[in-house]
């Protein structure tokens, strides 16, 4: 299915240019001009990918993006398991995001953990007209009464809250006081703010800073500190990702004192300023709080990548470089321990996947982070783009991609369909909204937000699953059936 391997970089670049020109032709002039800035081809040696990013989506084009609420409730706050997160406003937002993100956790749901539940103030017309603060206060009272083991509450604002002038901060403060200093966090993540999920991440990070950290200032650690205490930042434990990462950090001799935010707890958030190092997986969604902890508490942070053995080994060594020889030796020991497993996985799958071409379109991290894992299997990423990446993401992407890679920022449904039709990759990795479009076209697909209900994909254990899943997507017999029409 792929284009001939012998195709030169120049040919590919020329094809990409034609392809971009072709899709832009269909847009009204004004829109074509705006979209042109988001589409391009990576030129080796350039500091970024040559596209604009993190600007408003264009009305009517079928952007894949979500909203700030999705970034705060759906991504950052939702996985904190022992707090109750109120979807504050009408019923829909909480309903559509209810348990949809596979943030795995250990707990007793409904009793001491609440991740896969939908708490909402279910706004009615009268709440819009008269304001919802009184209702919010009552919602909190009822949460405290019916869910007494909750360790805190967050208010995840939906669009109307900011428009009708509700004072959720005042309600939160008053209720916190009434309930003996209970952590109650108002979050101004109304869906109309910003241009994507991204601002929701930032707002959620800031809410941790203002409503969790500041309260802890000056308090001693609740556990005996060690020189090897680290926090995992920006791992949402999709299908257990944070667990298959944590196990490696612990095996190399580090002590993980907190997970942000997959399988996380309020106690872990509060403990994080006591860490010696923050290890950051999803830079896009949690660089803000990492920078804050660096500035205020002097905690260094290091980005890492736990997709595929090459990047895992590189990352383990990078993390270890912040510690003494004990940890450095530990990293080498871990790498050596898993080497046979990795060899076995690559031996089993590489021959089945070698040379296969992949196109990606994911959120703010994976469009670059998973490339190494594909390359470990002999596959090649020929196109990639971010739903809500910023320019610093596109800069970081240059370290991963090859000359001539097709780049598409905030891709529209139309563009993505056309690109895939022309480039003919062997696999597309994107989200649920894209999955069935490409499968209808006969192109194998994996959801790269939810791991298509599989996972984990992080860490060595995860890479085995990743390899298995990519193989089963690409080499499924169904694609031969869908392409052939044997009927007379």
């Amino acid at each position: 299915m792929s284009l001939a391997i012998s195709e030169s970089i120049e040919d590919i670049k020329a094809r990409n240019k034609d392809l971009i020109d072709e899709v832009l032709e269909v847009y009204p002039d004004k829109t074509a001009k705006r979209r042109a800035k988001h589409l391009g081809t990576f030129e080796e040696g350039k500091p970024d990918c040559g596209v604009k990013s993190n600007v408003k989506s264009i009305p009517g084009v079928m952007t894949i993006r979500g909203c700030a609420y999705a970034g705060s409730k759906g991504v950052v706050w939702g996985p904190i398991k022992d707090m109750v997160h109120i979807s504050h406003g009408p019923v829909g937002c909480g309903q559509y995001s209810w348990a949809a993100r596979r943030n795995y956790y250990i707990g007793t749901t409904g009793i001491d953990s609440f991740v896969t539940m939908q708490f909402t103030s279910d706004f009615q017309e009268k709440d819009i007209v008269f304001g919802g603060d009184k209702k919010l206060a009552k919602v909190m009272d009822e949460i405290v009464e019916l869910f007494p083991l909750n360790k805190g509450i967050t208010v995840q604002s939906e669009c109307p809250i900011g428009l009708i002038g509700d004072d959720i901060e005042a309600v939160s403060k008053a209720k916190s006081k009434q309930y003996g200093g209970k952590t109650i966090v108002p979050v101004r993540c109304e869906g109309f703010r910003g241009v994507s999920q991204s601002l929701g991440h930032h707002i959620a990070n800031d809410a941790v800073r203002d409503w969790v950290f500041d309260k802890q200032d000056g308090k001693p650690a609740k556990f005996e500190q060690t020189d090897y205490d680290v926090a995992i930042i920006g791992d949402y434990n999709i299908g257990g990702d944070a667990w298959s990462s944590r196990i490696l950090l612990e095996e190399m001799g580090l002590r993980v004192i907190a997970q942000w935010s997959g399988d996380g707890s309020i106690a872990e958030l509060e403990a994080t300023p006591k860490a010696k190092l923050n290890v950051l997986h999803c830079y896009r969604s949690m660089n803000y709080i990492s920078r804050h902890m660096e500035e205020k508490y002097g905690i260094p942070w290091v980005e890492y990548n736990f997709f595929g053995p090459s990047k895992i080994a590189e990352s383990l060594r990078k993390i270890a470089s912040h510690f003494d020889d004990k940890i450095k030796d530990g990293a080498e020991r871990v790498i050596a321990k898993y080497q046979p497993l990795m060899d076995g996985v690559i031996k089993r799958y590489r021959s089945r996947l070698e040379g296969k071409k992949v196109m990606l379109f994911v959120g703010g991290l994976r469009p670059r982070h998973v490339i190494g894992a594909y390359e470990d299997l002999g596959m090649e990423v020929v196109g990639t783009g971010y739903e809500f990446g910023h320019n610093d993401d596109y800069q970081r992407t240059t370290h991963y991609i090859k000359d001539g890679t097709l780049i598409y920022d905030d891709v529209t449904g139309y563009e993505f369909e056309k690109f895939v039709e022309k480039v003919q990759p062997d696999l597309v990795g994107s989200g649920i909204k894209e999955k069935y479009v490409f499968q209808k076209m006969g192109v194998p697909f994996r959801q790269m937000h939810s791991w298509d209900y599989s996972g984990p994909y992080h860490g060595y254990d995860g890479f085995a699953i990743f390899a298995r899943d990519m193989d089963m997507a690409i080499n499924a017999p169904v694609w031969n059936l869908s392409k052939a029409d044997p009927l007379p």
Partner: protein
């Protein structure tokens, strides 16, 4: 390390391995400040009590695990049922990402819909510019025959006027002047997804029948012999609408399905992506005014639409999602009465076969106690069928059901001895249901995918019927309407009953009896 290249463990088994169990236990103990087990267990037991139930039922503000979505979802559902129609949702873009995901997770199909992507500046200045640009872009890119506009709560709160905005956009040349852009205001803080369905349906007929936004003279009804059929918001729309068409064809009825989304949510995998497929043609939508009558399968999904249609002089007959023999009988009697057609032998045979199936299996269902939750019409249809089977729909709950629904349910309960101890719960959620299942247990629960949490907490086996169903595949391709549909529902219920029976008797050397080969 238990992972191996030969036998790869994913999340299902990986985290039960000793190294992970130990790691997770240490995490909990050392860093989570967990609630002591005894206290957790005490609270867990307390939530099962009558005392907790009373507190739970006295909630006034908090909603926990509701079984309803918001208006705009229903708006999109209705819109995609028309030929080459692109739903355009005016407001924040994140909402559209949610609707599309939600439908794709249920139907396992693409779900196309655009947003006007309003942000802070639109919140201040209004979304007119977004409408103008959005319509132009959507029209150029996706080449629809019609764009159906609805709203999110953001656009509603700031008070955007769709009628004026669309006019404006047409004047700006976003779409041709005669291009069909019906609209409906669908505030998320009023009603639920079924209200949004109703509003969009009404908006579309108002558009076609009322003179296409002033561009033509309103249509004058010239009655013909056709009948219109409205399915309502329905997770089984693919199977159901095809079944209804088959029935109408068997009866030789001249019909129009209004909003036929059975093809767009069931497209073949043959190498081509169809953004649009099938649907009610725009011509048929316009001509539907001339029909003799309109049948709505779900009264609560079409309150305003039905009223509007009745206003044109048509007879409007509404049902409550009929399931089973008596429900289908009633439906077919009305079709026959209105059209003057008789019910053919083929359908009579299907009726007889369904009754035969019920007779064969009734002993396994008779006297079983059920809890049901879902949309108002669906719960009425299912409760009616259960009573027909000799089962008792003990708790029937509808988050988006109101007083009128509760009255209908009470009437239904009163119509059968099997409804004697049954109760309807309007406006309640699945956390209320949890209390009901603990304090007054039943044998089986019928509901959507989210019922699996109730199944886990209370041990009540779940039969998945409703919307959304995310974790079982392809059930939406089967009808639940008509005698054939009744048979499907019967089989789904029976399969669960037998599975549970086998599960209860599968313990070796303890229940080697009762684990029967013939049931």
């Amino acid at each position: 390390m238990t992972q191996s290249a030969e036998h790869i463990l994913d999340h299902v088994d990986l985290f039960r391995q000793p190294e992970y169990k130990e790691m997770l236990e240490n995490k909990r103990k050392n860093f989570e400040e967990p609630v002591p087990d005894a206290e957790r267990d005490q609270v867990r037991e307390w939530t099962k009590t009558w005392e907790y139930r009373e507190k739970n039922f006295s909630r006034e503000a908090l909603t926990v695990n509701p079984a309803k979505a918001c208006q705009p979802l229903g708006a999109v559902f209705a819109a995609v049922g028309f030929e080459s129609t692109l739903p355009f949702v005016h407001g924040s873009q994140g909402c559209v990402a949610y609707y599309r995901s939600h439908f794709s997770r249920h139907f396992k199909e693409p779900s196309s819909c655009v947003s006007s992507s309003m942000t802070e500046d639109a919140a201040v200045f209004g979304g007119l510019k977004n409408m103008i640009d959005g319509l132009a872009n959507a029209h150029a890119l996706y080449k629809p025959k019609m764009i159906s506009v609805s709203t999110t709560c953001m656009a509603e709160v700031i008070g955007d006027d769709l009628n004026a905005f669309i006019k404006n956009a047409k004047e700006e040349g976003s779409v041709p002047k005669d291009f069909d852009v019906p609209y409906a205001h669908t505030p998320a803080f009023v009603g639920s997804h079924i209200t949004g369905y109703d509003n969009v349906m009404k908006g579309i007929f108002e558009h076609f029948w009322g003179g296409k936004a002033g561009t033509e003279a309103p249509l004058v009804r010239q009655p013909n012999e056709k009948i219109n059929f409205i399915g309502g918001f329905d997770g089984y729309t693919v199977g159901n609408l095809r079944e209804i068409k088959r029935i109408f064809e068997l009866m030789d009825v001249d019909y129009t399905i209004l909003s036929d989304n059975s093809d767009v949510w069931d497209t073949p995998a043959d190498g081509q992506f169809r953004m649009y497929d099938g649907g009610t043609t725009l011509e048929d939508a316009a001509n539907a005014i001339h029909a003799k009558a309109t049948l709505s399968m779900q009264a609560f999904c079409s309150e305003k639409t039905g009223e509007y249609i009745a206003g044109t002089g048509q007879e409007v007959v509404s049902f409550n999602h009929p399931v089973g023999v008596a429900g289908t009988d009633k439906f077919l009697r009305e079709v026959a009465r209105i059209t003057g057609k008789s019910v053919p032998e083929a359908l009579r045979k299907e009726r007889g076969r369904l009754i035969d199936a019920i007779a064969d299996s009734s002993a396994h269902i008779h006297g079983k106690r059920f809890a049901i939750y879902g949309d108002p019409d669906l719960t009425l249809g299912l409760a009616g069928f259960l009573m027909e089977l000799g089962a008792e729909p003990v708790h029937v709950l509808s988050t988006n059901g109101g007083k009128a629904w509760e009255a209908e349910m009470d009437k239904l309960f009163a119509s059968s001895p099997f409804g004697k101890n049954c109760h309807a719960y309007a406006g309640k959620d699945l956390w209320h249901m949890r209390s009901l299942l603990f304090t007054e247990p039943v044998d089986f629960l019928i509901g959507n995918t989210y019922g699996k949490y109730l199944e886990r907490d209370t041990g009540t086996p779940l039969i998945r019927i409703g919307f959304p169903v995310f974790d079982r595949h392809h059930h939406h391709r089967y009808p639940v309407w008509g005698y054939q549909g009744g048979l499907n529902v019967l089989v789904w219920i029976l399969d669960k009953i037998f599975d549970v029976l086998d599960q209860n008797t599968i313990v070796a050397s303890k229940t080697d009896y009762s684990y029967d080969i013939i049931r």
